[in-house]
Symmetry: D2
Subunit: 355 residues, 4 copies
């Protein structure tokens, strides 16, 4: 029961087949979910830009730090060289090292990488310590490898899975969400897909409806003085042929999508966007046989619809995460409720214009 | 007839006395408006951080380039030194040089500046060339000086004044808009004021209501294939004691307010935010008598409500500009209509919850 | 009598034919020099990336601010779009506006630009106010246009010409300097050319020889407590096919060349590098006929020799400026001596190994 | 036998008591060195800004990426919040995760940190894979903890210790080096200390003497076509009261010191600077009891001598690392010679002016 299936249409652009980051051909996603006993509520999500050896065929990429209070690894090399060379791993804050280590294991072990001595492991995180025994650091290297190995395309799970297992968003249960847009052919025909790990706060607005206010649950309201901390990792994939400069611009627009949900990028929220292009001709060989590289790039002038797609898909991915996530009890007998759809859905439907 | 007077309440935080950037004590704003003949539709807006000699008493400041396709001057020095030393001038794209020159005149002529040999003139711009004979470059140095001299506090004009005279926003007449927030005492009690020069596009949303879609007028809709270009200059003032690092973070949040109106920061839109603090104890003497400077700064932990205030005030300032701007004819017999309040207002009021 | 003609060989790479920025094919340079009466000692230098309509055929470019205490215009758009669309103008600090205005005149008047309404004028500056009546703002628009019109390739004037007319470097007369490197074919065969406007301080070192110390004239020595302020504009041209990301990296290396002369990038020194590529296939049409652009780019792996060339050429260009500049008297009966070659040259020659 | 003891005086400013980063009061450094069998040549170096609980009393800090081809962790949070909250760990490229994990262990276990759920572990690295079996990932968490626990002030070991055990610099054995400057009282009296992990290439210049050329061993010479890769981590400590903005500026100057040794920041070299201030009054409590923080900051105008100190100390620290490092055999029967002091020292002494 995703919002769009219920008639809630965010934005004006058409969506892709699965309304997921996997609508961008070649992208796959895998999750490892840890729900153990009373207090382990965490996991790992892996996003693979393509199905081959990513280290040997790097993809153009960029990072935008909306609010850099987070532990994302790999960002300076992405910025310097304009590419990523590993799957992207998302997990909890204190498990970043084990995820990096597992990514290095993964890369060193891949056929063709026998002589690799340097790996820029890209790991993002959010803090799930409200529900999860985060100090226990329950993620293992096997959990990370499993997420990579189980990565698949097509329809994706959302909500309390993978790195979204224990997250909280706008005071409700958050989690993994995804969405996509497919531009009409006259606007380029490209697909933009987004996956989020939602764990932040602000004043929730769903498709413009002031849900946070109506529920009297928002940042600095009496009930929840400071529900705004946490983080949001946003992954943007596209098949548009963009270099790192235009991918950085695209990443900035995803942050605008977060803003439309009412997120405020509070002081404690590590809000990062990683954007990459899957265009095959833009991949960089680890050791190029030639000193130059011939590529075909979208011009600056054509970027606006791609920007709009990223904004819309990010907004929808966050809302999707809230719709999918179910109430969860965790550490210290805490419980986080799910978004009360019984109350919210009628509001949203009332505000939705007929097609 | 500002939206708030009509019952449209954007956000959850209380507003300042004038709901204007001038609610931040000491800030003043002046306009020069040029409407001459059929095709001159432009102007100048000056924002003064305080009433003294700004060059001799610099204020902490920062810039965020949401989309750097613009001609803002002074940005690298603001970033390096963390302050501004002139009034901020807004005008049209091709009149940036004359505005800089006038600012230098102004600074060199001020008592106490007799030996000044270097001035970091801060001038922002948007392109009003749809309605204005921008190639004619009609702004003069006197126009700029006049805007500075007429600067005042209190209630401000909005809409077709100053640098907003000829602008277009979401396909309707844009212009100057302003708004403010005053944080409750437990959240610090600080005031955040915003002034915008609105001249951009996207898919207009007013307080969450999909106005652009209902009017069938938005970026990449059939009617207006590419109404998204232009620019938005956003000025954020606060009396919170922030250094340039936290002011840069604050500036980023103003960009989130723009996002909430449906702006997409299209390729051609130069969307910049300049943020400054008016806290007297943070002013830097041009030639310090002492090697160190004692200051009292807000801690990172206290920033979230200030961020929220900037988001809300920016969103409202943009909407205020649309409400205030009246239809205008200009260059080449072009006409830009104002936002059709007769249609829009009932929608907004219907979507507004009772207090 | 350039240093290299006197046997002083800086670095290990071969130089281009003219040992000048104009060794990069298509690049031309023009100067307007103002020496009037007792106190006008200033000028304009124009660098043209190619001989065509630069606005219609933009070149890839990047900026690095080594120390951003300066008034460079156009930097945010260069960073956002990755290109420049005007000649680069250098002049004095307070004449930046008139230079921008003249650049706009120039662009608007060029055939083919009849409908242009937005120009990103790139103007760099240094402060020549020690010798020059900078507050008099003696540069006119005609001076700027003349520098553009007189631009030529081949051998260039150095020293007290153009924007270097009134500058001071390491306590001696500075000015314009230029140099180049031509990589051997196995390293790509590319040419890197540099032009500097030297006006900064530190502890002068020429090809490693501690000239500043021997002359007892350096930053924070007794004689010159604070000779370090000023600025250095550095322009780097190359025919290597680099996009803006690798041009930004290249620009950073030019700053390393400045370091090798003993420059310290003092607080008051606005030290900027602008780097561009002249590779024809990388030019961007103002209005592209196609949504994508096919380009051939040097891979990251091939950058190191290009970096080395930029370091060496920058170091040599600065030293060239000092060798060429003659002693000058100016404002307020001040006089700045030239580098005392009679004393310095024997030191340099003694330190030079036989070939 | 450090260069200075041998009469080689780099720069013009006086040095601190130990000519080491530990001249900055409170800073301590610890090493774990792993030389096992034929092919383990690696280690860990820990730099502690002060002797207390760093997480509870964070110090102002900044990062500058001279060339971001590296795996430094923690950089975005340092930039966002302007501080560091852990010791700084240096190690080899593939051991970054284990070092992060150990840092987290360390922080979680410290008294007072029982409720900490988020740690920004700062780990820098260089690639010692030429001599070291880097793929074997021999560093353990205990090795990292030991480096922290053994940290001390005063005189420091240099050369083949800690994270410098297996590094190569300018084709010779590199390693850990350190140096300091103590400004004269009229210039503020502050101390600047630097520690480097030298592992890069270029055209070696020692105190201006063209050692690389004379030894015919430099980047892109016949012998060593590409000895330029590797990395240089540079840590800058100062007791000057600087906030993160001025620390970032200071970090940039350390990169200038690297340039003076002939380093070229080659494509493959991850050259980063981390700068921090030990000024007690600038420390930030993890959970502040008050919403504002009173601090006393050095003004921009006073920065130039501090900049100069960082340039000089960095240059000398790199040279110190080369003087201290002894020849080493390692993985695959490779051997890296030490700098041939018998040949080099007479050149340096001949070039040194009498005091």
């Amino acid at each position: 029961n995703r919002p769009r299936d219920l008639g809630i249409r965010i934005g004006v652009l058409p969506v892709g087949a699965a309304n997921a980051i996997t609508d961008v051909a070649g992208v796959s996603v895998g999750h490892t979910t840890l729900q153990i006993g009373d207090s382990v509520r965490t996991g790992v999500t892996a996003i693979l830009p393509h199905g081959g050896n990513i280290f040997q065929e790097k993809v153009p990429a960029a990072v935008f730090a909306g609010n850099g209070f987070g532990k994302l690894t790999g960002s300076t090399q992405i910025q310097e060289l304009g590419n990523i060379e590993t799957p992207i791993i998302l997990t909890n804050t204190l498990s970043v090292p084990v995820a990096m280590d597992a990514l290095i294991d993964h890369v060193l072990a891949q056929p063709g990488n026998e002589h690799v001595q340097s790996v820029n492991a890209v790991v993002g995180e959010t803090n799930d310590g409200y529900l999860n025994d985060i100090r226990g650091r329950h993620i293992t290297k096997s959990d990370v490898i499993a997420a990579i190995q189980h990565a698949k395309g097509g329809m994706l799970e959302e909500g309390n899975v993978g790195a979204g297992t224990g997250t909280v968003c706008f005071g409700f249960k958050g989690g993994i969400g995804t969405a996509s847009r497919k531009l009409p052919a006259p606007l380029g025909g490209y697909t933009v897909g987004v996956l989020v790990q939602s764990n932040f706060g602000g004043v929730l607005q769903i498709n413009g409806v002031p849900v946070g206010q109506r529920l009297k649950e928002y940042a600095f309201s009496d009930q929840l003085l400071n529900n705004a901390d946490g983080s949001c990792m946003i992954i943007v994939a596209t098949d548009a042929p963009l270099d790192s400069r235009n991918l950085e611009r695209l990443a900035k627009r995803a942050f605008m999508g977060l803003a439309k949900t009412g997120g405020i990028a509070s002081n404690g929220s590590g809000d990062y966007v990683i954007a990459f292009s899957t265009a095959t001709q833009l991949r960089t060989a680890h050791q190029s046989q030639t000193p130059t590289h011939q590529v075909e790039l979208l011009t600056n002038d054509q970027m606006s619809p791609v920007f709009m797609a990223a904004i819309e898909a990010t907004e929808e991915a966050i809302i999707n995460s809230l719709f999918a996530a179910e109430a969860m009890a965790g550490k210290g007998n805490r419980k986080v409720e799910s978004l009360p759809l019984d109350r919210v859905l009628p509001w949203l439907q009332a505000a939705t214009d007929p097609k």
